[in-house]
Point group: C2
Chain length 323, copies 2
């Protein structure tokens, strides 16, 4: 590690997911100097989680100087609120209700802590260091266990009046459609286009088509990864699972385009490993649902950043961005 | 008219609709000093339209001083593009293709001319002089012959990368639903929640229910106004027409809220004369489709400005707002 990196100012970026929490020490140039992770779901109490994080992170603070070298901590987390520093009623986190996460972190670490939702952090990472460099208007869609989103218009993240803007995974793409296992809503994008949604679609379809390669796996192993494996082997049912998913996603994206007219939509997260199996139908159904003035204009691209890095980079950038 | 108004700087605001074009001379304080209108649809050629406008407007320019008192012309029009000054492929205008409206106006009037879409202009009018004063995040939905929208986040209109953001009337609320008479899309918000959409719903429903008061009118008189009259008289079929319309509108609004998390949604245009017949079901279905963190937060309100004034005021404000 060159001395210039060690002596410069740094921030800590933290990406909190339902299962894992990843963190990194990041310098001004967007270099992740050091990384680590802990399990999110091992800590029933948020206090215990913060204590465990402190144990892991404090040695890094010591290594990269003292507190005065650390400009602060940026956190991307489900339902994270930029204005209040809270996370509120996040279905995928073990801690229920409204949690003043930023204030708790500040009390523990003695450093300012900026919070936003995980997809916003990833969008910021892409804007500063990834596929959205130089763009002023784009939408980031994260397709993981859930579906998240970060929206940038005119060069700024859209937070909305309460800090919760950009919950596109919960928008309804099929009124009266598939019931969401956690929110109870009917026909949300997340119910179809998340890894969990894809698994549901795959289980339904393999039951209808006994000849599908998907039937070679036990129920517990049906997920977007095994569906991809079967699709790669030419299984038409698995290909249809992604086509159907892409249709629902593309219909949703068309509506998003007609809202904010982005230059690009960035897709991000585990589901995009399916590549063209999902990208092509998504693009087709996005285009065909667009009002003509929007057609053939919007780039639909995969994220360029390593998934964990994007959120860590974006979270750390929060520290430098917030006045 | 006090001398202070006559001596101050003024701008011309123009609101171009498919049928009528309204214009007004507006001062800095948002006072409409003079108003007028011409028919849009009487001019097959845009050149003739601009000539006719010039004949009407020139006396006003003379009355309110000289060109040097006039800061410019602001125009709200369907598919108006803020960046390019064009209107492009607007289905409701008589002039087809891409029209460099701003440049043509400038050539004729010798004044700078800023163009945006009509709903954006109305939203700007509401933000400066109407129900959205002081708000930094709101969405304006215009429910007229068509459904338009203007979106404000963080105090600025959302134009998107190409200037066409905010075409919420064309978002799909029911995939595979009612075919739009002009765009051909299936299940767009405009197909249900515009005055034209309401007339279609009413015609369908009165055919199913011979006892409806709606059957006392000839086909040509079935419109949102007559449906309102029948609903006011207690006709359950007419009440159901608005309930169904409100359901579709409310479902769409829920999706919009999860996009930009506005403080309020302003409804505007002829359809809102139906009052609670449409407002109550809209609110109910918006709330029930919202992800919990958004519930009971978003004000759903009717515009406070006179319909023509809002767009004229907003259009004139474009002149002073644009750098």
């Amino acid at each position: 590690m060159p001395l210039s990196d060690l002596s410069g100012r740094v921030a800590l970026g933290i990406d909190i997911g339902g299962t894992n929490t990843k963190f990194g020490v990041v310098n001004h140039r967007g270099q992740v100097l050091e990384k680590g992770s802990i399990k999110t779901d091992e800590y029933e109490k948020v206090e215990d989680f913060i204590d465990a994080l402190y144990v892991e992170v404090n040695p890094l603070i010591a290594k990269y100087g003292t507190h005065k070298n650390f400009d602060g901590i940026g956190v991307g987390m489900p339902n994270g609120n930029y204005y209040k520093g809270t996370t509120e009623h996040a279905p995928n986190l073990p801690w229920k209700g409204v949690i003043p996460f930023g204030a708790m972190m500040k009390a523990k670490f003695g450093l300012r802590c900026i919070v936003t939702n995980d997809a916003n952090a990833a969008a910021l990472g892409e804007m500063l260091f990834g596929a959205a460099r130089g763009m002023k208007d784009f939408i980031m869609i994260t397709l993981g266990t859930g579906v998240g989103s970060g929206i940038v218009t005119n060069g700024s993240l859209v937070y909305g009046h309460d800090g919760f803007a950009g919950e596109l995974g919960h928008t309804i793409v099929k009124p009266g459609g598939r019931k969401h296992w956690s929110t109870g809503s009917e026909g949300s994008l997340e119910a179809y286009a998340s890894a969990s949604g894809i698994a549901i679609t795959a289980k339904k379809m393999r039951a209808e088509f006994p000849q599908s390669l998907l039937n070679q796996y036990p129920e517990s192993e049906i997920n977007s990864k095994t569906v991809y494996e079967c699709a790669s082997k030419g299984d038409p049912i698995s290909i249809e699972v992604f086509r159907y998913t892409g249709q629902k996603l593309g219909e949703a994206l068309a509506n998003f385009v007609m809202f904010s007219s982005p230059e690009a939509i960035l897709l991000f997260g585990g589901v995009i490993k399916a590549g063209d199996f999902i990208l092509k139908p998504t693009k087709l159904h996005m285009e065909r649902n667009l009002f003509p003035i929007f057609r053939d204009k919007v780039k639909l691209v995969f994220s360029e950043l390593d998934e964990a890095d994007a959120a860590i980079l974006g979270a750390s950038a929060l520290v430098w961005e917030k006045k």
